[in-house]
Amino acid sequence: MERADTRLIKRSIWQYLDVPIIAVAFLIILPLLGINRTTDFIIFCIFVLGFNILYGFMGRLSFGHMLYLGTGAYTMTIFSEHISQNPLLAILASIVAGALIGVILGPIIVRTTGACFALINLAFCQVGFFLVLVAFSRQTGGEDGMSANFSKLSFLNFGNKAVVFGFVLFCLLLTYYFLKKFTSSPFGVLIKSIKENETRVKFLGYNTFTYKWVTFIISTTISAFSGALSILNYGYVTPSFIDPTRAVEVIFAALIGGSGSLYGSIIGGVVYMTISNYLASYIPRWEMFLGFALLVVVFRLRTGVWGFIVGMFNKRQKVLEG
């Protein structure tokens, strides 16, 4: 009895400590990778979180999530060019743009499931890519992209890389905390039930459409947020931010970390970025490696790295208990 109690306390401590753990983990990574790369990693992790809320929790695989990232990135740049150079206002504008695109496209996209959902996202991403690259090339700089300049704030100087790092890390923790609260709320439980069996959720009298729409909007908003943050980091936008062929990156990150887990998203983001940043310089056939890794994940390691760790931990726990 006593042992069970201590374990309960232990587990709850783990639950409260997750935000500091993530912060400390990135601070440990920081000297290993350098500040630019670590900032990059954190921003990608936010994107994976935004993607995973849709894929891992609601069970809808989007093959065009770059569209929402690109919406944030381009809004950020164009806002700073034409309206105001205040970076915080620009980020706010990107978040609003991300939410808006979710509100507009949601009713069309959310009604579909499975392959249709994946492909209709891809189709919209293709349209967005075309709009940026060709139709509005005068405003977006076309293939060359355009640079974004931000004014210096008195309390937050984004010219300093350390400030950017701190701000981005704070954003990640904020996103993580919000999503943790969101997924453990009744709303989040309902979304997980939609993944398991939507018909039954409908039988229980819930209007699943609204729930799916709201989740979709949250996902697009977080993705746009991460797009805006990467502009803050790079100061430059190119069509590669909205390139449909890059959609697989975030899918791979979500899968390898373990879909349906917030920790898994962050681990997946870090693992993917490590592979693409370091392995690519050692392995010339990098796309082929990614392909084989994806096959291994799909056929052998479906729960991802985080699921694997949790599984090992549970097994050990059982052995210890006899």
């Binding site: 492909l119 189709a123 449909p244």
Partner: protein, 277 residues
Amino acid sequence: MINTIAYGLTIGAILYIISIGLSLTFGTMRIVNFAHGFVYTIGAYLLISSLPFVRNNFFLGALIAVVAVIPISYVVERFVIRKLYGVSIDYAIIATYAVALIGVDLTKWIWGASPIPLSDPIGMDISIFSVTLPMYRVLIIALSLVIFGALTVFFKKTIIGKIVIASLEDKDAVKSLGINVDKYFSIVFIIGSCLAALGGVLYAPITSVHPYMGMMVLLISFAVVLVGGLGNIKGTFVSAFVLGMVMAITGRFWGPAAETMVFVVMGIVLIFKPVEV
């Protein structure tokens, strides 16, 4: 104007040849096959490689390319697709996408990344209604009609076709009759892959051949399949030609928008006709 229509018909014919395999794979196995684009690309590359051996005879080269795709598609089916039956559709998408990634890298490894141009294999023109058209395009349109007829006969008259049609309706019922459905599915998969390779071969002289040519065509043929109805053989035929016309007419007024317009049409169709997958 007639030129635009002829161009639209050509694109429609090629789109039909490519999409029918995709549509059948989806209808029978419930798998969205991203590796289809890879087969299409490899078909065009095999044609280029085989041309020197057959003294630049385009038709022999095309035949070799299509036949050579059979073992490749069998390997893909045996080691990837067959393991995906009954698995969640997301994993199928990701796994076949992985195959496409490997395939693209393989073509880059073997043939290099730079585009290879190919000239019109016939080079003769034919005049219809006082408009001169390249003979090659007319042949493509005719070929697509022949394939449509052949497939219709195949699905109506042969026992394999009948089994496939029955499994499109109700797979479990066919299984309970003691028929090994999976065997017929792999036949369908290989036929579809051969047709995709044929599409690549036919399209190669119109554009240039490069490792990523499959991706864009794949997206467009997905649009064709979704608009025409998944696993619907006649629907795919009609929607391929309609979307081919859309591409040609848009391309006439504003070149770069041609492919995007297909997705706009697809979006509109899906709004009014949601596909339950």
